[in-house]
Amino acid sequence: MESITGLILAKYNYWMYISLMMVGLYAMIAKNNLVKKIIGMNILQTAIILFYISIGAKKGATIPIIMHSEGHGHEAVHAVQYINPLPHVLMLTAIVVSVATLGVALALAIRLYARFGTLEEDEINDQVREAP
């Protein structure tokens, strides 16, 4: 019993990241509406961000801002005391890129709506096939 709860606690974040990724993938592939597809794409991105942040987490460590005092220097920094900052840096930029791609994707969706009058993928496909 002890080992099972230990296993669940150790892996729970990873399982949740996998289920979020599957939700995003399902929305991207199976949904018919373009805005739903874009939401799925964003959920997939955030799932991967969640994975990286989970890797960066450390038990018993504090946030990666070095404690320091004005004037008389600081004590030697031990890496064990601070959460790994590297995944945070990579994911911070990934979030900003995700909002940029979101803007471009929505712009494309608006152009498609202006051209075809619908956001449903199958209707757009029908109209494209009918056109010579």
Partner: protein, 81 residues
């Protein structure tokens, strides 16, 4: 880091994600996506990634929601799935 909080927020995150994907109204989907982003922001603050949480709160929950609503306002709210 309190693992009970972590578990509860993770469950909420997954619920919000599934709701945002399944709801039959694009405006509602946009709003639910904003709620999803905010839950993620809480989760990252709880995990100690304060910079990422700050970025997610301003970018994910703030600006992306506005973008979604603007796009839905310019197109249509209706959806078949």
């Amino acid at each position: 880091m309190i693992w009970q909080v972590d578990l509860a927020i993770l469950a909420l995150v997954v619920i919000c994600a599934i709701a945002a994907v399944t709801v039959r109204d694009l405006l509602g989907a946009g709003i639910l996506f904003g709620a999803y982003s905010f839950m993620l922001c809480l989760l990252w603050a709880a995990m100690g990634a304060v910079d990422v949480a700050f970025t997610e709160a301003s970018v994910g929950a703030g600006v992306s929601t506005v973008f979604f609503i603007a796009a839905v306002f310019r197109t249509t709210r209706r959806t078949k799935d």
